[in-house]
């Protein structure tokens, strides 16, 4: 099977969907001539031309609103945000318009738009460029949010998102863009709302999404080697819709849970998961649910401290041992 980077996997999804459907349009700052701020869209302008791959001015509320308006008429815009942090200047369009129009029209209209781009800290760029808004956005009914952790999932989720008839917000991660993995050449999708057990284990379930999955997998190795603990790692892949069944099945098997995310703790994705697990699997738990998230402060610039602020394998191991105690 071909090995692609996370970046190349997303690009492959965009290329295949651009070729498959004339209505797919890629739009965003620097996506065309510049080949993408993070080179995800490299070569697409050359292959598909300026009608399908469109550079926008720095004008997020404007161009995302244009994409939403176009999507109501059946265009399938894939909008790149250079950082999801920039979505905050387009919040009215992203939430009020894309998220509510179907409901307010009594189901007469739908917005098949994808908004994608990196949403992560850990890159030493300070608070304004390090937001992880998956929980904020997923808290709005009408919106879907996915966070791929691997090249395979990135391609499959992106293709599913583009074919989906609702607004889907894909949160990538700049630190993962160079990560490599096996990605099939053939057409496939990863359905939204399907979690994936990335490592099978017996003693503890770790639930994570995005880069926190990879951090958790590293922690699981350490836990096995140094502490003799068998850890199962469930990758949510999709925040909304949410694969409750896979999470609960793992909890019922291991009876202990650690939730790991790169979000800040207050009202994060894990707050919802902790509620879900205690409500539906209380009798299966042998210990209180544990949690490791980013330290609750605006993202710090200082690199050595930022590496502590975001969950790292050492913090995940420490959190796991508490749940196992």
């Amino acid at each position: 099977m071909p090995v692609l980077s996370y970046r190349e996997a997303i690009r492959a999804a965009l290329r295949e969907e651009l070729a498959r459907d004339e209505n797919v349009v890629v739009m965003g700052e620097e996506v065309a001539q510049f080949n993408g701020a993070y080179k995800v869209t490299e070569g697409l302008l050359k292959e598909f031309g300026p009608r399908r791959v469109v550079d926008t001015p720095i004008s997020e509320a404007g161009f995302i609103g244009v994409g939403i308006g176009a999507s109501m008429l059946g265009i399938r815009p894939v909008m790149e945000l250079m950082f999801w942090s920039f979505s905050y200047v387009a919040f009215d369009q992203i939430v009020n318009n894309a998220g509510n129009i179907r409901y307010m029209s009594g189901g007469l209209i739908n917005c098949p738009i994808v908004i994608r781009g990196p949403a992560n800290g850990g890159t030493n760029v300070g608070a304004t460029h390090s937001h992880t808004p998956e929980a904020i956005l997923a808290s709005h009914p009408g919106i879907k949010v996915v966070c791929p952790a691997t090249p395979y999932d990135a391609k499959g989720l992106m293709k599913a998102a583009i074919r989906d008839n609702d607004p889907v917000y894909v949160m990538e991660n700049t630190i993962l863009y160079n990560d490599k993995g096996e990605v099939p050449d053939e057409d496939y999708i990863v359905p939204l709302g399907s979690a994936d057990v990335k490592r099978v284990g017996a003693d503890l379930t770790i639930v994570a999404h995005g880069r926190a999955v990879l951090t958790s997998l590293k922690a699981a190795e350490i836990l096995e080697k140094e502490h003799g603990v068998s850890v199962e790692v469930v990758d949510l892949r999709s925040i909304r819709p949410l694969d409750e069944a896979t999470v609960l099945a793992s909890v019922r098997k291991t009876h202990r849970v650690l939730l790991v995310e790169e979000n800040k703790p207050f009202c994060g994705v894990d707050a919802q998961l902790a509620y879900l697990i205690q409500a539906k699997a209380f009798d299966d738990l042998d210990a209180p649910i544990g949690r490791v998230s980013s330290i609750d402060a605006p993202q710090i610039y200082c690199k050595p401290l930022e590496d502590i602020q975001i969950p790292n394998p050492a913090r995940v191991v420490e959190g796991a041992l508490k749940v196992l105690a």
Binding site: V25, R51, T56, P57, S59, A61, G62, F63, I64, G65, V66, G67, I68, G69, A70, S71, M72, L73, G74, I75, D92, Q93, N96, N97, I101, R102, Y103, M104, S105, G106, G107, L108, I109, N110, P112, P141, G142, K144, A160, A161, R163, D164, N165, D166, I189, P191, L192, G193, S194, A195, S238, R240, P241, L242, D243, E244, A245, Q272, A279
Partner: protein, 369 residues
């Protein structure tokens, strides 16, 4: 405030209302007698619908906001009457007039105000959120100026699909200071998008007059020059003028794929919404002057009487029929049921409402307690 001049007011607003200089414009010369009567009927229907809404609101049957269109009828009727089959529209929250003009029926519009299941949005949108995509009408939007980029996007899609259409994108004078509007202007001009931004300038953004809200010495439309867009000023009390100048903008969109900003001068007779007591920011004399001397329906009626198209009996019959239609719509709304509680969680996601082997979503998407 600067003295009215060519950059701030349409020529026709500088003198007392009289015969329209635009009656013989090609856009109007082609109107048959029946067409002219139909335009009158549409304006009368909007006015009587809105007046019936006031009663329903006062009866406590309409919750939330109710922004009335009374006084502004010639804009929706004039602008929309020149559109063709591939032309679309989107507007803000003062959206009833446009809805009736594109052919949404009074019953479903009235029922929506009461939150009934028979409403045009099944009771999920309310006054500010009417939609009729089958009639090229994309809402009905509650956030001031938020629809401007959407309108540019609709026109962008028409162009992408190779259709010769445009999108009329309406907003009030209060919207012109929103960032999203300026971003939409820039993109429309930059990308040659066939969109027409229509500023319905009724003089007040809620209770704040233009001179207290807008740092521009000329007209609101003149700001288009900063983006290299064409613009025009329109007397919104004169249906002939509204049609003529809109038709020119539509031609520009169709033939050159270029945007336009039209600023149409108008006046609302009631407060910003029903919750505005309308006592603090404008005086009664001003309202009286507009009602008596510049009312767009009265002026159109006068023109058609003078042209011999209408007579007093016909005027009475049209108004009676419109009143009757509004009355029946109110009765229909009263008699309609509220939606079932299960409706709360429907119409959120297309994929959920149509879930099957081909849909892309699994898992839980609507969450319980």
């Amino acid at each position: 405030m600067a003295k009215p001049n060519a950059l701030t007011h349409p020529e026709s607003l500088k003198r007392p209302p009289g015969p329209s200089a635009y009656a013989k414009d090609p856009a109007n010369a082609r109107l048959s007698k029946a067409d002219k009567i139909r335009l009158y009927t549409q304006m009368a229907r909007i006015r009587h619908f809105e007046q019936r809404c006031i009663r329903t609101y006062q009866q406590g049957k309409i919750g939330g906001f109710l922004h009335l269109y009374v006084g502004q009828e010639a804009i929706a009727v004039g602008t929309l009457s020149v559109l063709g089959k591939d032309d679309h529209l989107i507007t803000g929250y003062r959206d009833h007039g446009h809805a009736l003009m594109v052919g949404m029926d009074m019953n479903s519009c009235m029922a929506e105000l009461q939150g009934k299941a028979t409403g045009c949005s099944k009771g999920k949108g309310g006054s500010m959120h009417y939609f009729a995509p089958d009639k090229n009408y994309w809402g009905g939007h509650g956030i001031v100026g938020g629809q401007a980029p959407l309108g540019a996007g609709i026109a962008y899609a028409l162009k992408h699909k190779g259709l010769k259409g445009c999108c009329l994108t309406y907003m009030g004078d209060g919207a012109v200071n929103q960032g999203a509007v300026h971003e939409a202007y820039n993109l429309a001009a930059l990308w040659d998008i066939p969109v027409i931004f229509v500023i319905e300038n009724n003089g007040y953004s809620m209770g704040t007059s233009q001179e207290r809200s807008t740092a521009h010495p000329g007209s609101l439309a003149q700001r288009a020059e900063g983006y290299g867009m064409d613009w025009d000023l329109v007397n919104g009390h004169d249906l002939y003028e509204v049609r003529a100048k809109t038709a020119a903008a539509v031609r520009r969109a169709h033939e050159k794929s270029r945007p336009t900003v039209l600023e149409i001068f108008t006046y609302r007779y009631f407060g910003h919404s029903m919750s505005d007591p309308d006592k603090t920011y404008r005086d009664k004399e001003e309202i009286k002057d507009y009602r008596e001397n510049k009312d767009p329906i009265k002026l159109w009626e006068k023109a058609l009487l003078e042209e011999g198209v209408l007579d007093a009996a016909k005027v009475a019959a049209i108004n009676e029929a419109a009143m009757d239609e509004a009355e029946k719509a109110a009765a229909f709304a009263d008699a309609s049921p509220y939606p079932e509680p299960s409706a709360i969680t429907q119409d959120i996601y297309w994929e959920e409402d149509n879930r099957g082997p081909k849909t892309t979503s699994r898992g839980t998407i609507i969450f319980g307690d």
